[in-house]
Symmetry: C2
Amino acid sequence: MTLSGSLLIGQRDVGGTTHFHAVNPATDARLEPAFACATHADVEAACRLAADAFDPYRALSFERRAAFLEQIAVCLGENADAIIARAGAETALPEGRLRGEMGRTMGQLRLFATLVRQGEWSLPRIDPALPDRTPMPRADLRQRRIGVGPVAVFGASNFPLAFSVAGGDTVSALAAGCPVVCRAHPAHPGTSELVGRAIRQAASTCGMPEGVFSLLGGAGHEVGEWLVKHPAIMSVGFTGSYAGGTAIAALAAQREVPIPVFAEMGSINPVYLCPQALAARTESLARGFVDSLTMGVGQFCTNPGIVIAPEGDAFESFVRIAAETIATRQAATMLTPGIHAAYDTGVARLAQCAGIREVGQGSDDGAPNRGRPMLFRTTAEDFMRERTMRHEVFGPVSILVSCPDTATLRVLTESLEGQLTITLQMDDADMDLARTLLPVFERKAGRILVNAWPTGVEVCHAMVHGGPFPATTDTRTTSVGTAAIERFLRPVCYQDLPDILLPPELARANPLGLTRQVNGTMQPPA
Amino acid sequence: MTLSGSLLIGQRDVGGTTHFHAVNPATDARLEPAFACATHADVEAACRLAADAFDPYRALSFERRAAFLEQIAVCLGENADAIIARAGAETALPEGRLRGEMGRTMGQLRLFATLVRQGEWSLPRIDPALPDRTPMPRADLRQRRIGVGPVAVFGASNFPLAFSVAGGDTVSALAAGCPVVCRAHPAHPGTSELVGRAIRQAASTCGMPEGVFSLLGGAGHEVGEWLVKHPAIMSVGFTGSYAGGTAIAALAAQREVPIPVFAEMGSINPVYLCPQALAARTESLARGFVDSLTMGVGQFCTNPGIVIAPEGDAFESFVRIAAETIATRQAATMLTPGIHAAYDTGVARLAQCAGIREVGQGSDDGAPNRGRPMLFRTTAEDFMRERTMRHEVFGPVSILVSCPDTATLRVLTESLEGQLTITLQMDDADMDLARTLLPVFERKAGRILVNAWPTGVEVCHAMVHGGPFPATTDTRTTSVGTAAIERFLRPVCYQDLPDILLPPELARANPLGLTRQVNGTMQPPA
């Protein structure tokens, strides 16, 4: 599998008239080959193919849909070395991390294959006819969920595999029966093309309709805008910045037919240190925090951007140890020159906030695009006064906030914006405080952790990688884990259909052997 | 229970400085008393109370929440005669219809009480810790769904009980654990106040937090706008016009924190007459259609506004019999002078479309605000050319569309906008055509009916009263039936929480005895 720089429109390679190059962020060197920028006609062609593929794709059996997802994992595995090498050059992520991410991506595909095969994601509901009911008989009513239609996927820069071309949005859309038109992230076009070719190969091997997947690239915002505005696109999955996510959501809301946008835009992921835990475990908490903060050069949506703790001696010790620890950490190459520049700008902006003070930083060798770990401190009062401190700075920077009393802690917590995660470090003696804070945390975050660190998102059934705005544009969902499929489904009700016209999920004989809801009660297959 | 014209802000009656009156549409007479128009401060007070009530209300046991819903039904029942009398004066709906609607409203409250008590609506998902997993252990991850926060409810004019103050939106929000601030429909303020008092009485009897319910009235759009823009409001339920629903959705999208809007805006509900069914059952289809069209003066979201059939002798017979039948139907009072005026305007606009022809009409005695049943015919070609014909005219008017061949039928179907329902009248010999159309219907509508009529929406578990835009602003949901609760829920994930902090749905001992998803598989209680 070699790189051509083409767009992948269905099974066709399409060249371009304008091109762009990837950059190796570790060296600022241009990487070959040149990549085609999609034109409006290319977007039109890919969306049209996707629309044509929707009915035939969703009509395939769950088994065939599952086999397709598994085959994508196989094709990724067969090309893993080439993909990881290219991803390393394009993102500066270490090979070990990329191998782990490849494993996660393949595991995610297999997890969704299992989900699709089980079939209960379609949530079949049956209210059988009651012909003798008075005063009016009841019709036979059956509900299942089907895909919403073609989905536009915008890959993330920070997970070039697990949240990009074959990542969580793509796999949950394909699992839901929706064709995908993916807009390749311009920071890793080569990785995108290689992964896209693996998906295309799997589609061909499994006899999928041609338009089930297309990959479009481009250097600017145009391709994404055309895609979101295209009438064939019925939903959007996005992982990236607040600016990007809200711009796409605004475009989608202004369409003649508005469509939902599931944008995961990150957050500052507050960590609360309860008094007893802080006193008893000052050093391990400080070290654990710095590990979580600096992991992957802080380039995680769930990076702990603020630590909130009671003021006093224990907090002062925590600050000192965290500062000492961070001084031992080195700056490392960030994902792109743009992300590095935004990080430096964001840190500089924080440094200028009233009432903030720098307390520690990592070392920096001055090589290109290195993100240097940074630690600030402030008070609850200053934090609440200065809105700048509430906004995520993507990278290894965090603010330690001291709080004079529980009342202020409560007010500060209420003042927070929506978060992906909130973490509570607590011991048994902190239980009353935890009980007070928990209902507020539930309103503010998608995931609440106790005595853990927020970086690291398990791909499983119970995960929520989501949360109230501005963490995401839709708090009712998750973009990680099997519940992510729900974003791309909608219910359809069938009234009095003859059995021969019913989909197998709803047919009277239950040929798929599903657990179905009957008259409001879950009923296993006979 | 007597009418005071007050706003109901929590347990307080609040008078106004400006007022408006209801009108009896049958006589155009003003109805006493005067009703207060809510001020911005009133909206603020109600929303603030709702925000304060959210945590205590959602913390109550499912049993107490269910008992509250049941008590609302009891209080409605105790005041049914007064409510029905006032609703009759404000809407001109016949007493029998209103008694049926009251029964439906009470039944809906009890259905949701049962749902809440069962508890599985919270969709508990558990992925237990895997401490020995390599290379990384897995944390204990548990997910449940909680309410999104205070919900603004906009009642519908055409269901003054079942889709208004204590209707489907209110009950599904309260069931989800969300306080409700209801904007009373200005067409039935007295009915709204009486129903609001019943809810408030139930809230008091059941010891609910004060802000769990408030009712705000007003004559214009201001109150609704303040409500949708208020930061405490986290979601909106609306049933009404396209103009109203899209205006609210636009306001909600422009908020600093955008919120979802579930607006059900109606549709033209196409009815397809397949060739064999049309030939075999011409007369019964024509009569059944006119019955469905004229029921309730055509004032249903699911009214059959267009009939599509193959051209030819059978269609001509259908047109003739339908025209003869509609001539026997009389005009009847519509819900409001405004709805009547819009109906007349809409019919006049249809009559001016190129290629349309009036084929029948009911009789009209000239009394105020009477909607006269009207029937038009056109061809598929003209229908596709003239966008006006695709837009709902709320009331007893329908267009009969003749189609030259199956290819045109398919193109016409693809050209349709999103619909609440699509109905197929078919016999066994029409099976191939039905199979061809069904996938398109699934993309276009929330509910597909065979050999039935779309008017009449069962409140049950499998119902979908929803559909692609412009039928609604969110195709992923329903506003009727138990699945309507999902609109007002969001998932929260708990990682490594000690058992004592877990909500009962997720606690290790499963104290509520719920069926829970464990490692992706449904597991009944031990």
